[in-house]
C-alpha cells in the first residue's frame, strides 16, 4: 500500500510518500519546507504569514515528494492529511489541497490527528513495539502523556495545565533575550552552564497525577532575572539556561516514569518536536532502560513536523469521504 501524506498544521509545509508492505514501513520521500527563518524575526509563528507561505510551497513540495519517491499519482492508494490540532489558517491549506487531490486522483482520504501522528512516527523505525506503551509528546503547543493499549487505542492520561514545554523554552529564551526558537538556543547555552546554579522549581513533580505545569517555572525564571544585573554575563546566561532546562527535563522524565510504572508500560515512547532535545533523550532513555523497559523515539527528521508520520498514521486511520473532511484546530486525543 502506498500512502501520500500532507502536513501543514503550523509552519512546515510537508509531503511524503510511505509504502507499507507486510506491516513494514518504507519512507520513499519526505519533503519538508520549513518557514523557520520567515518567522524568526517575530519570535513565533505568524499565522497569516504561515498560511501565505503554505500556499506558495504546497504544490512544489507535493511535486517534489512524488519525484523523489519515483511514483505517479495513480500508484497512490490513499491520501492522509493533518486535520488538527494546529493553526486554522495553516490546516485549511493542507486539507483543501488534499481534498482536491482526492477528487482529481479519485483516491480515498483520511483526516489525521497531528498528535496521534507524532506517536505513529515511531512505527517508521519498524521496531517491535510492546504494549501497553506510554508516549510523552512534547512540542511547542503540547505536552501530553498518552497511554497506548494497542496500535489503535490511545488515551490521554496527562497533559500540561498551562504552558507547553516547548512554549516555556520560547518564553524563557525571550526573557533572556537570546532569540527564537527557544529550544535549540537554550540547549546550546546550557551546554556550558551549571545545572545547580539556580534552584528552579520542578512543578507538580510530587503531585499524584500525570499532569504538568510550566507557567510557574517561567515566572520563577522571571523573578530570578529581576534580582540579577540588567546585562547578564555569558556565564549567567549559560547557568540560567542549564538550570531551567534541567528543571523542565527532570519534570518530564519523572512524570513519564511515574506513568510508565503506574500503567505497567512495556515501552516508553518519546515524540514531538521537543524530543529533539538531547538532554531529554539521554535522561529519559537512561531511566527507562534502568527499569528494563523498551525506549523508542523517532529518527531526528521524524521528530519535528513532517508528512511521513502523517502517512504512517494514515495506515491506521479510517477513510472519510472528502466532502465530510473538516479541520479542527482544537482536536485532541481523548
Amino acid at each position: 500500500m502506498i500512502i501520500f501524506g500532507i502536513e501543514t498544521s503550523c509552519d512546515e509545509t510537508s509531503a511524503a510518500v510511505v509504502k507499507i508492505n507486510r506491516n513494514h514501513f518504507f519512507v520513499l520521500s519526505n519533503v519538508v519546507s520549513s518557514q523557520i527563518k520567515i518567522h524568526q524575526p517575530y519570535g513565533g509563528v505568524v499565522p497569516e504569514l504561515a498560511a501565505r507561505n503554505h500556499i506558495k510551497n504546497i504544490l512544489p513540495v507535493i511535486n517534489q515528494a512524488l519525484i523523489e519517491a519515483k511514483i505517479k499519482p495513480n500508484q497512490v492508494d490513499k491520501i492522509a492529511v493533518t486535520v488538527g490540532p494546529g493553526l486554522i489558517t495553516s490546516l485549511l491549506i493542507g486539507v483543501q489541497t488534499a481534498k482536491i487531490l482526492a477528487y482529481t486522483w479519485q483516491k480515498p482520504i483520511a483526516g489525521i490527528n497531528h498528535m496521534v501522528a507524532h506517536i505513529y512516527a515511531n512505527w517508521l523505525n519498524n521496531k517491535l513495539i510492546k504494549f501497553p506503551a506510554i508516549a510523552l509528546i512534547v512540542s511547542g503547543g503540547h505536552t501530553e502523556l498518552v497511554l497506548i493499549k494497542n496500535k489503535n487505542n490511545f488515551k490521554k492520561v496527562g497533559q500540561t495545565l498551562d504552558d507547553a514545554a516547548g512554549e516555556a523554552f520560547d518564553k524563557v529564551a525571550q526573557l533572556l533575550n537570546v532569540g527564537y526558537p527557544g529550544g535549540p538556543i537554550i540547549s546550546r547555552l546550557a551546554e556550558r552552564g551549571d545545572i545547580n546554579a539556580f534552584n528552579f522549581p520542578r512543578p507538580m513533580i510530587e503531585k499524584d497525577n500525570f499532569n504538568f505545569s510550566f507557567s510557574g517555572l517561567k515566572t520563577a525564571v522571571l523573578y530570578t532575572i529581576k534580582d540579577l544585573p540588567k546585562k547578564l554575563s555569558d556565564k549567567q546566561l549559560a547557568d540560567l539556561s542549564a538550570s531551567f532546562q534541567q528543571a523542565v527535563v527532570e519534570t518530564l522524565v519523572a512524570k513519564t516514569i511515574k506513568a510508565a510504572e503506574h500503567f505497567k508500560a512495556k515501552t516508553v515512547i518519546l515524540a514531538g518536536g521537543v524530543a529533539a532535545n538531547k538532554l531529554l533523550r539521554e535522561q529519559l532513555g537512561k531511566k527507562v532502560k534502568g527499569l528494563k523497559r523498551d525506549f523508542l523515539m523517532p529518527d531526528f527528521s521524524f521528530c519535528t513536523d513532517n508528512a511521513a508520520m502523517i502517512a504512517a498514521a494514515g495506515y491506521f486511520t479510517k477513510n472519510t469521504p472528502w466532502q465530510k473532511l473538516r479541520v479542527d484546530p482544537n482536536l485532541e486525543i481523548k
Binding site: 509563528v45 505568524v46 499565522p47 511547542g140 503547543g141 498551562d162 499532569n211 517561567k218 515566572t219 523573578y223
Partner: protein
C-alpha cells in the same frame, strides 16, 4: 473596582466571582506582564462558567474555544502575546466571535490589538506587587 489577591487560589476565586456576573457577549481584555497571573484569572473565570477541561495557554495557536453549558455557550480564550498587529487576530477568524450574545471572550495582552477592541466592555489590569501578591483592577465601559 480594585482587588488584592495573595495566592493563586485567591486569584482563581476572583475569576469565579467575575464569571457569575457575566451575561454573554462580553469582551474582556486582560493587561499585565508575563507571570502577572492573567492565565490564572482566566482559569477562575472558566471554572465559574462550569468548564472542566484544563485551560491551557493559547500562545501557540493564538485562540482556543471552550464550549460551556448554560446561557453562555462558549468561552473564547485569545492570547496576543506573540501578535504584532490586530490583523493577525482577524486573520484567524477571532473577530467573528466578538459581540455574539452567547459567547464570552477573554483576551490576554489585549493592549496589542486595541484597534479592533471597540466592543471591549471590561478591562482587567493585573499587576504583580510581589511574589504572591497581585493588584487586580477591573474597569467597565459603556
Amino acid at each position: 473596582m480594585k482587588y488584592l489577591t495573595d495566592s493563586e487560589n485567591q486569584t482563581i476565586q476572583l475569576g469565579k466571582k467575575i464569571a457569575t456576573k457575566l451575561k454573554g457577549g462580553e469582551v474582556i481584555g486582560l493587561v499585565g506582564n508575563l507571570g502577572a497571573g492573567k492565565t490564572t484569572l482566566i482559569k477562575g473565570i472558566a471554572k465559574g462558567l462550569g468548564i472542566k477541561k484544563p485551560i491551557t495557554s493559547p500562545t501557540f495557536v493564538l485562540m482556543k474555544v471552550y464550549p460551556t453549558k448554560g446561557k453562555i455557550k462558549k468561552l473564547i480564550h485569545i492570547d496576543c502575546y506573540r501578535v504584532k498587529s490586530a490583523k493577525e487576530i482577524e486573520a484567524i477568524g477571532a473577530t467573528e466571535y466578538f459581540g455574539q450574545k452567547d459567547t464570552v471572550i477573554v483576551i490576554e495582552w489585549a493592549e496589542k490589538i486595541k484597534s479592533i477592541l471597540s466592543r471591549q466592555k471590561i478591562e482587567i489590569n493585573i499587576k504583580l506587587i510581589d511574589k504572591d501578591e497581585r493588584e487586580i483592577i477591573i474597569k467597565k465601559y459603556g
